[in-house]
Symmetry: C4
Subunit: 255 residues, 4 copies
């Protein structure tokens, strides 16, 4: 009877073992808890909220921690049902020392430490690791593999356009350093400083903290800006096309 419960729980908790389409109810619940825990960890860093709702955040953390411990224990217990032929304790060791298992454990330890020693900054970041676990779920890991394949299949186009973009970045930063380096030493007084301007300009963000003020500087900046949008947008376009193609092939095989 214990074995039957264990088998059912394994199907519920292990996405690849779920015999139906999509995610099991238990995994949907875990997705919701992970998202809530992430939102809670983000909101808790806000002093205005943390001050007035300290008790609430503490209770929420306790509940999340309990869920994650229960999940870890369930995985540890039910991994015995996995189809591999290894000994049951070998499977359990395999889970504990897998990347997923160690992230799970790290998150639990980080959450516990928060409850004991208080909300240290570094522990907060560790708790945000939970969100990484969502990447393991079902279709997403397939889409991720496709994305990797898309990157690999277009590595020369991507390499070239990124290389050209990097070259333009350095060229633009060097030009502005020569032209406005003495006029605005805080902003263009060295190539590394000018690179900040070049990145913020070529990505078209344009905060407005740094911009050329001489006529020549503006002319050069205009050329960098126009050439830049092409060079920055091209890898994106190539990647989107490759990724879209790779996913379409997948759909075709499916039908």
């Amino acid at each position: 009877m214990g074995n039957k419960l264990r088998r059912n729980l394994f199907q519920q908790i292990e996405p690849t073992a779920w015999p139906h389409r999509g995610l099991s109810p238990l995994n949907w619940l875990l997705v919701v808890v992970i998202l809530l825990a992430t939102v809670s960890a983000i909101l808790e860093t806000e002093p205005l909220l943390a001050r007035h709702h300290a008790a609430g955040f503490r209770v929420a953390e306790l509940i999340f921690c309990a869920v994650f411990v229960a999940e870890y224990a369930t995985r540890f217990w039910t991994i015995a049902e996995s189809p591999s032929k290894h000994h049951i304790w070998r499977k359990r060791a395999g889970f504990v020392f897998s990347l997923a298992g160690m992230i799970d454990l790290l998150v639990i330890v980080a959450t516990f430490s928060t409850l004991l020693v208080g909300n240290v900054a570094a522990l907060r970041l560790l708790r945000l690791l939970r969100i990484v676990r969502l990447a393991k779920l079902g279709r997403m890991s397939l889409a991720m593999r496709r994305l990797q394949q898309a990157v690999v299949s277009r590595r020369y186009e991507l390499g070239l356009t990124m290389g050209l973009a990097l070259g333009l970045l350095i060229l633009g930063a060097s030009a502005l350093y020569f032209i406005e380096g003495e006029l605005q030493p805080e902003k263009f007084g060295s190539i590394p400083r000018a690179l900040w301007w070049a990145v913020i300009t070529m990505t078209t963000i344009g905060y407005g903290d740094v911009y050329p003020i001489t006529v020549l500087g503006k002319i050069v900046a205009a050329f960098v800006a126009i050439a830049g949008i092409g060079l920055i947008a091209m890898p994106t376009g190539i990647l989107a096309a490759a990724f879209s193609d790779a996913m379409q092939e997948e759909h075709e095989f499916e039908d």
Copy 2:
């Protein structure tokens, strides 16, 4: 004779019943009135205009209101001509309780209330709902269905790239919170605050109200910016391709 008028009016007012290509003259007129009413509702919020042209806006609203009441009454009367086999009053109840019918009624009530109790802010927003009605017209509703299909057919690519973009958003905001949280507490003093910076940076808007000022912060921001444009632009590219494909298939079936 009354039935003939009713049939003609039904063909004029119901886009799907119009036997010719495109929109009927009456529907073109209604499109123009809806657009004018929307522009009028927008302009009326401007104090400089509202003060000097209060009477003009009042008259315009009265005319728009009359048109919408007349339209509602016509629809209520002519729906009897619809091809369904239900009883005539069943059809009319169907129209009154349909989403389109309720929006029409809401808009009329909101416009009347404005004329009676004065221009309350919430009523203004209700009057803007009129523009939603344009979506029902002929080809547009088909294009809308195609857009929905395009979103559904690429849900995994969209989900993954949006998930990655969200992950980068949280990662970038957390990094800047750790690096500049103490230096610029108003801007990076918590992850939610830093998220505002991350969104405005990754969408390449870059207002310039928040930006990193330390060397490390700038280096991290540069990486977030470069990775971000790719991750934000990818879902857009995928969606545009899918939408374009879906519409092309439509054109093929048509020929």
Copy 3:
């Protein structure tokens, strides 16, 4: 003999009559003069340049004017060689009252007026009309027709995505008007004022002259920004794909 010169000149000056590939030497010369005249008209508006080089600009204008008069006279004389069967003076009248002919004449009159009555602002703009004439040249006019076809062939996708973008624009502006209208009356005090913010945000320009300062305003702005880049970028992607397809078909027919 006069007829032979006229025939040769006609082939030189009329792009469609040129029997060889590309543009005739005379047309290349005219392209260069038009570009120089445009650059000169642009630079002349700069007070720092206009003050010190007034004589130079005057001489340049005189030369450009002479060239355009000579060109106009040549076209008027040689149009007689055009293959249409109309009477010679009918052809000339056709040239004078064509759009191209009237732009040519307008530009000449504007240039002369500048030389006589001084550099009035409105005349400057007229002189910039010269650049429009480049659109008539050879392949360009074909590419322009293809671009028009591309716009027409995807009019429903373009209409829908532009409509959605417009809807989001109005929705976002209305939301910010409700949220920050009283806090920043100069910037969000009416929907038309908030629309300036919405356009500059959704096009990702982000000057930084207007941005939300409340928490709720920032949350809404973040959603508008993320949804906006998709909706603004989609018509562009659709148009680029359609235009690229249309030009490719052209290349295929050519081979």
Copy 4:
């Protein structure tokens, strides 16, 4: 025996002579040294670093210089193994006077001069030329040729869309010059000044140093912004598609 060493070295140093896939170990080493030398040249311009680590930068430059001299000597010696039938000294002269050979020599002379006469600004720029050499490596030069072909194959689309973008740029700048030229003379007081605004707006950078402040100026700027993103993004999309197609054909031939 000397010939055998020379043949091996030639295969190591000349990417096209390497009989295996990818780059030879020696070329990988040179790539790393070039990247390190570039980073070093960039960082050395930063006063805060240069002051405290002057000796370190000097030693690094010495090492990079020695590597580049050794590489140049090796190329000069081993070029004799190249498959062409010319006399051995003819081949060497060919290398010395090739573009690649002259860049190599220029970089060495610039590095030496830096060590002798001190870090003059112009010499720094020359040292950055090293990065250009990466473009010669293996697949990259093929991808570069494909990019050139993509540009050539779509020259009419690119020409037209760039021409339209340029026209809109001039039109937008002229309009703002007429509307706000007197109100903001420093920013819109001439068409060249207004062009700076137009470029920074149409590339969606939007530093925020220049923006319209009148209602009419904002309305015109909104239209320029919306039309501009389409016109600027279209050449990019066309180029990305053409480049992607050209590279795919390459992959097909390969299989």
